[in-house]
Symmetry: C2
Subunit: 305 residues, 2 copies
Amino acid sequence: MPVGSGEQARVELAKQLEQAGHQSPSGSHGIYGRGADFEAVIDGLAKALVALEKPDETVQRMFFPPLEPRAAYLKTDYLASFPQLTGAVDTFTGNDKDHKALLKVYEEGGEWADTLVPSGLMMVPATCHNVYPRYAGELPEPVRVEARSWCFRHEPEVDPMRMVCFRIYEQVYIGTADGAQEHRDVWMNNYVALFKDLGLGVTTDVANDPFFGRAGRMLAVGQKSEALKFEVLTDIYDDKQTAIASGNAHRTHFGENFGITLPDGSLAHSSCAGMGMERATIALLVRHGMDVSAWPADVKDRLGL
Amino acid sequence: MPVGSGEQARVELAKQLEQAGHQSPSGSHGIYGRGADFEAVIDGLAKALVALEKPDETVQRMFFPPLEPRAAYLKTDYLASFPQLTGAVDTFTGNDKDHKALLKVYEEGGEWADTLVPSGLMMVPATCHNVYPRYAGELPEPVRVEARSWCFRHEPEVDPMRMVCFRIYEQVYIGTADGAQEHRDVWMNNYVALFKDLGLGVTTDVANDPFFGRAGRMLAVGQKSEALKFEVLTDIYDDKQTAIASGNAHRTHFGENFGITLPDGSLAHSSCAGMGMERATIALLVRHGMDVSAWPADVKDRLGL
């Protein structure tokens, strides 16, 4: 059941998660340690997702680290569209003398991080961004990929449903226009059916990404009016529904930016569906209670718990 | 069997891992995608580690994201000891006008990342760093933690055994001096026994961390002469053994820096043992072949494969 409204409800949910051992604060909003039961639910959801794949379709499985090279990051246009969410990794490449200078800045209370230099690595903002560079070139036939990665979006908030570091497990398709559309719709239906089987009340709605700034607002309107993005929403709080999964049709955006073509020479279309693994897990904890061992038997069965 | 010497051997191993679907290059050394078989071995090793725990000891399980707050990072003295490995995350906090300026720098080929600002988040360099802040204060009794995290060390190299992003699964102890020493030694023995059961030839040796600079060389000598750090080494290449696990006694280093005390008011000691999950997996692939399904039955059994 929903835990109430406003900031108080967010704080209350965080407290419930902490007391039950599902969430351990780090001192930074959106960066949380997790307990064993929490991880078991994520593993169970991952297995349930794999079980939804059609047996006659070949699915590539890919597991990614939390960082990607800058070259791949820039090709996604993320710097133009979502700069406010970006994470760029700096490091230290100096000598002994430079190190002494860095430590002096630190000891004097200055911004020592300003003396670091770009490493050329970026935090991965979306799991599927890892996939497209791997298919640059001509694609003999459409591909389906199950991809897992840690993602980063810099939006620190009290709300435990809003994380800075979190996992998105995605089903990605690269191929034809019709195939991309169908893939997204099939997986949105898969998600809805799975969540309903797990006892979660969910709805779907057209949505838009949080494009940055004034130009971004127009992009968001366009995305919404073309129904490119859908979200699966559930009731965590009384005042606002929360997305726990989404599906995106990208048209030829990634095909063009990563140079992925079909045998007829046309640009590949792509689409993805992704589940926010921590969000889905918290939604289940809110629905069935903080004690996973006391969840309904059919829910535990479905998740292999 | 070892794959040879020098850079050629490293390139050859990377190629073998790629051809077998275990490793997918990203364009940056040390950042790799993984395949399903590779991940299954990591999961199997993780389960084998849990099975080694003594049944009469309570073990807390903690799972962490790849980032930690700067305050925790600074308390570990990492900035002074290992600046060359550090990853600090920058982000964009400006307005529309700042964003236009950023994009202009980018379009003109300038260093756009220099216009970003510190987010206050750092890449986690070692899994156990996540643990100590969670026990600040008085410890009623010693604690044992099994902790899992992605770690970051900025040392990009061709060698697939040298990663920038990788997972260390650790057994951490915080408590008495004797307990800390025993914990490290018990787990070093556990690792050696497990690797031998899995058919890997391993040795152990005193080791030191790669402390930075001239002052760092003295710290390394001290660490080695006091036998605080041990490594479990195996033959991947002909020219040099490779560490796949290590054990560290920290004395009161973390107890002091994180303010962890025992009931008698003294500073807590700590120790940890950690396995490089990707390194251990690659060592097994080198030993038993790239086709996991063809590994010896007893090895597969032990890993639940």
